[in-house]
Symmetry: C2
Subunit: 519 residues, 2 copies
């Protein structure tokens, strides 16, 4: 199994069919295959050898897509970098992965120029835009034009196809190692949920570095469907492109879907082409499900749950369970049932498997489980202890085998579909001299599900406003990770017997009278 | 990946749903899981260790199904034996595989009793029927009842799940070694073609030892659908059970489908539940496609092509190409396009890849390719030379990536969906004293596509009628392999320069004015 074979297959079985649509630029699958094969040859000419890491930091585009496939085609390992990271975090990913080549677009050029001299392993930069190519950079288009197509590099199924950085409970971002077999198998495991055909059109609107769009993008490729790109999510631009390009499928988070159906110009656009929406990150509030069903009656929905470490999909909730009446009602807050070929179990603190309805840690094993964390043998051993991946997520299975992700064992906040590890925010806050100690929690938000809130015990004699502390965080970590609000506290943080901060107590006043969002 | 996980998943996600229906016997998926887990424990109690071969020789039934899964659950390797083999061939499979346990039903009891003392490795026999259990045999039902359920044996994805004997071009049947990962992955690769849901009902009507039913059966299990069983194909019994049990899916060969739609009582049965028919072995004549579409308007068809060695599906022709007009017409004689995750190429005699339209040998690589032939390292090395499986089938890809299986490089006859290797028939015929030399070819048959015909040069001074020679064959090989007709020839067989029989010349008079069936 090899990611490159998927592209070759598209060129063989749907060669004249549309492969990519990006504004006015269109390529059929034969052209896409040729462009990728040429770009891969270009990467080889820049020194990419089998197993070398090639990072990508860019907004969504057909060129991002070409990079994603050209890297494994050339034998390399893709490292798609989170576009919302702060400069020190981007530098960490590039250095930790040891990336020798970076593909970057104009949006991120200033950031890369600012941190260029901190990038230890980086040797070559490919520029994804046509105009004003910086000196010393290689133009994406010139690499495509200047090279003869190469045959895909021979890689074994268990060879790495990509490193995907996730936040970490220890505060250090970890490079999740996925193999060709991991990514291809999870695509096959979920193909029957995507239901795409060569005639389908998949909208890449969630960020392309993210595991959620990755699996949608791979499914569209397995189906030899067309890919449509917009640089990033913007509600009206999304409505417009769905109408214009007759989009049939996409992957979004509930927050995005909610913004679409509530958009004042929703009715101005014809979304009749849309067929299947996959969403993840959290369950969809019932009101939003009902609204989608009312406003987009041709659309069916599938919820998916998983982690980057699971390539990423572990469970799916099929369309027929998005109902409020009848024998299949009552499951909309569930993450669905395990995909075929993978095993799931819920385990209590003593390591015993839980009965239906009992909450424990969600664990999984199967062909979609990562190879480990890059250069972190201890964390890898811990995460894969006993041959099962320990998700760190709490949950239970009901009598029908539906998974309910009831809490996070990891200290994590889910805001607008993004995972924020409290420890990363606490690390940033703690670097300010006015912070003696702090704890970061999720509090309810109408718009984002949860939002990031910090409780700060000030350092005696120092002073800083909430605004100043938030500004300070912005210099260190991605904007979506920064606290939206801060409360100051004179007494020490409440601690457990073991000396851990009792976050439950800190959360209590915010969540009183509200259900904490499941998942 | 493990076959047992598929059964556990059915019990988790559709535990109260119907698992198996066999006449009046019904079990839900929880019961099926428990019965398999108990039967597996029974097999362990009979000495089955990890990797031990357990053969099955029986007509279709829910107990056959339980055996198929209990063997890998116990850590063993299933060996489903072709029910049409003659006694010496059955003995060969059992001895060659080294099976220590055999599961047999009453239909095959006389055969097993007759060859019992030739079975070198066999130690224990499980009897699939309830009445008159022979002394020394173990009753299937008592094994289920007498044992506590065991946990599935831990087996690696690349560990063998089964040995599947196929006829061989060398005349010796070969045990195709498939792993758990081979079988599960090919199921995932084809799930979008089967389109089964938990509510679907799959009819096991093609023989359960056969790769064709195996992949249908696995797909129904991945979907947690219900399995319906009838002992073997009988047109009216098939029509009756489709109506009675509201069957939605099945896998058949064109000959079977043809017999259904031409059955005089076709109109007496309500087949409105039927949704999706997968067929293989050969393309379906256009007249039969048209007739199915007219008589069963709710049914869509998928053609599949592959070999036991490819677990088995390599290509699929989706429903939308079963048309005679419009842009998708002209493909009904094609075997379709390669499944996702697998690579296919056509190679000429010099080893060069063929251009579209050029005939060569069909080769494939990917996760569904067998591990090799059991105890045949040379044949394995030859079949998998260069990392690609050499199918021995000739064919070409058209401009749209559709495979046309245009001829067999192997000397093989396809009759009623069964492969007959000429060499096996020639070996049998040659053992008769009246046969000096012979050549076996396929000649056109309205009913079977091809039928087996022998050209015999008699031994001077000996005499035998066609009837006697055919009777002689029946004592050595399966009935479907025996010649239907024999022509005698006084001059020697036509030979090529290299001394090979020029079968093309022998076939010519029979096929004049007729298109030889593609595939």
């Amino acid at each position: 199994m090899n990611l490159s074979w998927l592209i070759e297959r598209c060129a063989t079985i749907n060669g004249d069919g549309t492969g990519t649509i990006d504004g006015d630029i269109r390529h059929n699958w034969k052209q896409v295959r040729d462009r990728i094969a040429c770009l891969a040859a270009g990467l080889r000419s820049l020194g990419c050898e089998n197993g070398d890491r090639v990072a990508i930091l860019a907004m969504n585009s057909h060129r991002y897509f070409e990079c994603l496939f050209a890297v494994p085609w050339a034998g390399g390992v893709m490292v798609p970098v989170n576009i919302r990271l702060a400069p020190p975090e981007v530098a960490y990913c590039l250095n930790n992965s040891g990336a020798t080549i970076l593909c970057v677009d104009k949006t991120f050029l200033p950031m890369i120029e600012a941190i260029r001299d901190q990038l230890e392993s980086l040797r070559e930069i490919v520029y994804l835009d046509d105009a004003d190519i910086p000196a010393g950079f290689h133009g994406h288009e010139s690499l495509v034009q200047a090279n003869e197509p190469m045959e895909p590099a021979e890689r074994a199924p268990e060879d790495l196809s990509g490193l995907f950085y996730t936040g970490g409970t220890t505060g250090l971002s970890k490079g999740v190692m996925l193999s060709h077999a991991n990514q291809v198998t999870n695509t096959l495991q979920t193909a029957m949920r995507f239901e795409m055909q060569p005639e389908s059109r998949y909208l890449n609107v969630a960020p392309m570095f993210h595991a959620a769009n990755m699996i949608g993008m791979l499914n569209a490729t397995v189906a030899a469907s067309a890919h449509v790109f917009i640089p990033c999510f913007d509600p009206e631009a999304t409505l417009r492109v769905i109408e214009k390009e007759r989009v049939t499928n996409s992957v979004m988070v509930p927050t995005m879907i909610n913004m679409l159906v509530h958009h004042p110009k929703f009715a101005d656009y014809d979304l009749g082409s849309f067929r299947r929406m996959l969403y993840g990150g959290s369950p969809m509030p019932e009101a939003v499900i009902a609204r989608v069903q009312e406003q987009m009656p041709g659309v069916t929905m599938v919820q998916a749950y998983g982690l980057t470490e699971t390539s990423p999909i572990l469970t799916c909730l099929p369309p027929e369970y998005h109902v409020f009446e009848g024998p299949k009602a009552g499951k909309t807050r569930s993450a669905g049932q395990v995909v075929a070929g993978t095993q799931l179990k819920i385990v209590d603190e003593s390591g015993k498997e839980c009965a239906a309805g009992e909450v424990g840690e969600i664990r999984a094993r199967g062909p979609n489980i990562m190879q480990g964390y890059w250069n972190m043998p201890e964390q890898t051993a811990e995460a894969l202890q006993g041959g099962w991946f320990h998700t760190g997520d709490g949950g239970y299975l009901d009598e029908d085998g539906f998974l309910f992700v009831s809490d996070r064992i990891k200290d994590m906040i889910v805001t607008g579909g993004e995972n924020v590890y409290s420890i990363e925010v606490e690390n940033a806050l703690s670097q300010h001299p006015a912070v003696q100690s702090c704890a970061v929690i999720g509090i309810p938000s109408e718009q984002w599900g949860e939002e990031v809130h910090a409780v700060v015990c000030p350092e005696p004699g120092e002073e800083a406003s909430a605004e100043e502390l938030i500004r300070h965080c912005h210099t260190l970590i991605a904007g979506y990770k920064c606290p939206r609000s801060i409360s100051f506290r004179d007494e020490p943080l409440p601690l457990s017997g073991a000396g851990k901060v009792l976050k439950r107590e800190l959360r209590k006043p915010f969540w009183q009278g509200k259900d904490r969002q499941v998942n």
